[in-house]
């Protein structure tokens, strides 16, 4: 079965011969090849290929341009950032200087006020101490006076004799010592 089909195919191929070798068709084929290929070459080289080339070129230029622009923008952004950072650092330094000055001023004021206050306090203290000392002295004197009077009164009542102040003093001194 298959063999008969194969031989049939081969027979058909043989009987037909190669149409390619029929030289009578060659002029027509060459003529139309020249016409169509020539036309295609003309259309391609004069219209279409320049168009495609231009489109590709344009895109390439555009991309290069955009990349340049992007690089430029980046550079500007970086510059702005450094400027900003510098300004920030300056401002911070200034702020620190200002706060430092203010602190010194305040400290100086506080010192002055403290000194004033201390001076006032020490003056008052001195006055008070003086007062205390005088009070103490007058109190002693009064106690001594009271003691002398009491002594004199006691002695008068006991022996009806008024002692001299010198004797009383000596007796009191003796008693205080004891």
């Amino acid at each position: 079965m298959l063999v008969s089909i194969l031989t049939a195919g081969a027979e058909a191929a043989e009987s037909a011969g190669l149409p390619q070798l029929d030289a009578s068709t060659w002029p027509s084929q060459l003529f139309w090849l020249a016409v169509t290929f020539g036309l295609l070459y003309w259309v391609m080289s004069s219209m279409i290929l320049p168009r495609i080339g231009a489109a590709i070129e344009e895109r390439r230029d555009r991309i290069a341009d955009d990349l340049d622009k992007a690089a430029e923008s980046r550079r500007l952004a970086e510059e702005a950032e450094t400027a900003f950072n510098r300004a920030l650092a300056d401002a911070r330094a200034k702020a620190q200087a200002v706060t430092g000055e203010a602190r010194e001023e305040v400290n100086a004021e506080i010192d002055a006020m403290r000194k004033d206050a201390e001076a006032a306090i020490s003056a008052k203290t001195a006055v008070a101490e003086q007062h205390i000392a005088s009070l103490k002295a007058s109190a002693e004197a009064k106690v001594r006076e009271a003691a002398q009077e009491t002594t004199r009164a006691v002695v008068e009542a006991l022996i009806h004799e008024t002692p001299t102040p010198a004797v009383v003093d000596a007796a009191i001194a003796k008693a205080v010592k004891a």
Partner: protein, 268 residues
């Protein structure tokens, strides 16, 4: 003989698809230049290419659409091919290489379109590149450009292509004829390669398709066997797409290599 399996299904011989059939008879002087099925498919191919590229590049958008992307990819593909093989001053051949590549590619691909069943034979799909005279003419065009450019650029130093400098004198009698023969065989191999690939592919496709018809016609168990050549024809059909693109690429790259030889003949 192969019989029709069902009415209307006619298994044509594998060579019928290559027949040149007139559509509009024409003569130029006494030369027959009839508008044939071959001419029709050349025209269809060229018109399709022109229309595609015209609409693809019509808007010239900065962000390309689908068609423009395809056009640009093809452009860059061939441009890189030319630049890489010939160098920057080879870009003057770019339109030629591009036209050659796209012409052959389209012819090969359009030849794979199935014919409309029942249409007249002279309107069946036709592979223009399956004819040796067409491929050989394109090969000769390339070689002619190579020779003219070679002499124009290098003068007589172009002949150094056949006798590279630094070659020992006693090797000359052997090597020079070899180089000349290899140069002369270039257009032949260039033309025959494309022609033979197209011819063989289409014959095999047709044979497989013929087997399917014949087995179906035989009926019974043989009809079931028809699945094998049917799958085979699908596989061959897919392979032919690869061959179609590959052969167009091979033709273009060999053209570039020969042009590169012509451009740099004096440096050898």
């Amino acid at each position: 003989m192969i019989h029709a399996a069902t009415p209307g299904l006619q298994a044509a011989g594998p060579m019928e698809q290559f027949e040149i059939l007139p559509i509009v008879p024409l003569t130029l002087g006494n030369i027959d230049v009839s508008f044939t099925n071959s001419a029709l498919w050349m025209t269809i191919g060229v018109v399709a290419i022109a229309l595609f590229f015209f609409f693809a590049t019509n808007r010239r958008a900065l962000i390309p659409g689908r068609m423009q992307s395809v056009a640009e990819i093809l452009h860059e593909f061939v441009a890189n091919l030319v630049r890489d093989t010939i160098g920057h001053d080879g870009m003057k051949f770019f339109p030629y290489v591009f036209t050659l590549f796209i012409f052959i590619l389209t012819a090969n691909f359009f030849g794979l379109i199935p014919s409309i069943p029942g249409s007249p034979h002279n309107l069946h799909t036709f592979t223009t590149t399956s004819h040796i005279i067409v491929t050989f003419a394109l090969a000769m065009l390339t070689i002619t450009i190579v020779i003219i450019y070679g002499f124009a650029k290098n003068g007589l130093k172009f002949l150094k292509l056949f006798a590279p400098s630094g070659l020992p004198i006693w090797l000359m009698p052997i090597l020079v004829p070899i180089e000349i023969i290899s140069f002369l065989s270039r257009p032949v191999s260039l033309g025959v390669r494309l022609f033979a690939n197209m011819l063989a592919g289409h014959i095999i496709l047709k044979l497989f398709a013929g087997f399917v018809i014949a087995l179906l016609g035989a009926g019974g168990f043989a009809s079931i066997l028809a699945i094998a050549p049917f799958l085979g024809s699908i596989a061959i059909f897919l392979l032919e797409f690869l061959v179609a693109a590959l052969q167009a690429y091979v033709f273009a790259i060999l053209t570039c290599i020969y042009l590169s030889d012509a451009a740099h003949a004096a440096d050898h």
